[in-house]
């Protein structure tokens, strides 16, 4: 079974005699709590049939003047494609978590602004394993053991003994604590200063982190295959990511360094790819205006009271975005499609209960590095994201 606990999409997780094998604690937690707190079909917090909830959802979205669709990072590519069609049909805004997560990194890779590679190639070949603002211990617990630092690979026969680990963070995270032998931990106060130090070092000048950067560049030059994984610590640590991408391109003039986003929701990259294929943009898109803009990010639309209805699928804004923004959901008509009774579901106008993609429904997801995976669910539930979205689309 493919675990959809995070964007590693580990393909060796098994359920045998009721036991979950090979999953990390994060995947285990998702699976072992699958039956808890399941969503029920609700309209105005009253229990209804799934059909009635969908009918109400269609009515709300169909009558809205400025509807938005948001989320979709834990569902399948097939469901994401239908979501984009609904947004187009409604002339609506569509966005996902990537607009405040690692969307810009995925975009730079899709536009080929920076070189990227696959996790299998990293496992087989990469010498320097570089985590910047990322703590896979928590966000993707098997990242290092299955794909990057620890495993043996074709050119890395001794596993981590054949690699050099670099960790950059503002705190000594669990991942940073692993940087001991053949490794360096760079504790930064400002990520921008470290970017500047790399740029200066490549021009032969010394910046604030000259010593650390010197060590890293020397190690990078020792191999023709190195990989950097970036996380939200970087995204929120630098003023803008363009300068960071420029630094990656400069490093590549002296040593090969591939960039991969570290981890996010199971199929965030799938959403970015689906929308990119259709519109040339990866998120915050308005079908009415036929363009993407930072003003069309779901959080910005809420801030400016620009939308009157929203379809949320597989996301819980009340938990994940600033409360002053998310509480505005109360003022609009909200349809939540989710396997769980999330906090946002508790205040929604309509709740449509769905299945867990990967565990209870099949389809395709895209791993953090862009590799597509076919899901192998342990059961196939008829009422899943794709079925619900198709019904909504037909109703519209």
């Amino acid at each position: 079974m493919i675990c959809t606990g995070c964007s590693c999409l580990c393909d060796d997780v098994e359920i045998r005699d009721g036991k979950i094998l090979n999953a990390c604690y994060r995947g285990y937690k998702v699976y072992s709590k699958l039956s808890e707190n399941r969503a029920r079909a609700l309209v105005d917090r009253r229990e209804v049939s799934v059909d009635d909830a969908i009918e109400k959802a269609v009515e709300i979205l169909g009558q809205a003047k400025n509807p938005a669709l948001y989320g979709f990072d834990t569902t399948t590519v097939e469901a994401q494609e239908v979501a984009v069609k609904i947004a187009e049909k409604l002339n609506a805004f569509i966005d996902d978590n990537s607009s405040f997560c690692l969307g810009e990194v995925v975009e730079a890779i899709l536009k080929k602004d920076v070189p990227s590679t696959t996790l299998e190639d990293v496992r087989d070949q990469a010498y320097v394993i570089f985590y910047w603002g990322a703590n896979p211990y928590s966000s993707a617990p098997r990242h290092m053991s299955k794909f990057t630092y620890y495993p043996r690979g074709m050119k890395r026969l001794k596993g981590y003994e054949d690699r050099f680990l670099v960790v950059v963070d503002v705190r000594r995270s669990e991942t940073a604590k692993l940087a001991k032998k053949n490794a360096i931990f760079i504790k930064v106060e400002s990520d921008d200063e470290l970017v500047e130090s790399f740029n200066l070092a490549l021009e032969g000048k010394a910046g604030k982190y000259a010593k650390e950067v010197g060590t890293v560049i020397t190690e990078l030059k020792r191999s023709d295959f190195n990989a950097m994984f970036v996380g939200l610590g970087l995204k929120y640590g630098v003023r803008n990511l363009d300068g960071f991408f420029e630094m990656i391109r400069k490093i590549n003039r002296v040593a090969k360094l591939y960039l991969i986003p570290s981890a996010f929701h199971s199929n965030m990259r799938g959403f970015n790819e689906v929308l990119f294929e259709k519109t040339g943009s990866i998120n915050k898109f308005s079908f009415k205006e036929q363009r993407s803009d930072k003003l069309f990010a779901f959080t910005e639309l809420l801030k400016r009271d620009e939308i009157d209805a929203v379809l949320l699928l597989g996301t819980d804004p009340l938990s994940s975005i600033p409360f002053e923004i998310s509480k505005k959901i109360m003022r609009i008509k909200t349809v939540v499609v989710d396997p769980k009774m999330s906090l946002t579901a508790k205040i929604a106008k309509v709740v449509v209960p769905s299945a867990f993609s990967g565990f209870e429904s099949s389809g395709t997801m895209v791993r953090s590095d862009g590799v597509r995976k076919r899901l192998e669910p342990i059961e196939e539930k008829e009422v899943n994201d794709l079925w619900i979205l198709k019904k909504i689309s037909e109703g519209l």
Binding site: S138, R171, R172, Y236, L318, S320, P322, E324
Partner: protein, 109 residues
């Protein structure tokens, strides 16, 4: 014994991080920093920012920033975040009573 720190308030920078193992109304301090500001493991602390106040359970962790704290990414941390979703400054002081609940936050809507 009277705890002097009970009457003190400190401004602390709090990071918001993904932490799949720990959920709920908790805040993690580096042991050295906690010692400096007089907070012990499992103390109840009041975290406030403007007119927003939550009572959280204090935990000690070597993975916390050396001069600050972190909170798992959930409704309790989102309650305080603004434009930077991953970092905020708040005042911390020792409190009495019980941890804040999700319901209290939802009731404020």
């Amino acid at each position: 014994m009277l705890r002097i720190s009970k009457f003190l308030k400190f401004e602390v920078e709090v990071l918001v991080v993904r932490d799949s193992l720990n959920e709920g109304a908790v805040i993690f301090f580096h042991p050295e920093f906690a010692k400096k500001i007089g907070i012990k493991e499992n103390d109840l602390v009041e975290v406030s920012k403007g007119d927003k106040v939550l009572r959280l359970r204090a935990k000690l962790s070597n993975f916390a920033p050396e001069n600050g704290a972190y909170m798992p990414n959930n409704i309790f941390s989102s309650y305080f975040t603004e434009n930077n979703f991953k970092k905020f400054k708040a005042n911390v002081e020792i409190a009495d009573g019980k941890e804040s609940t999700v319901e209290e936050i939802l009731d404020s809507l």
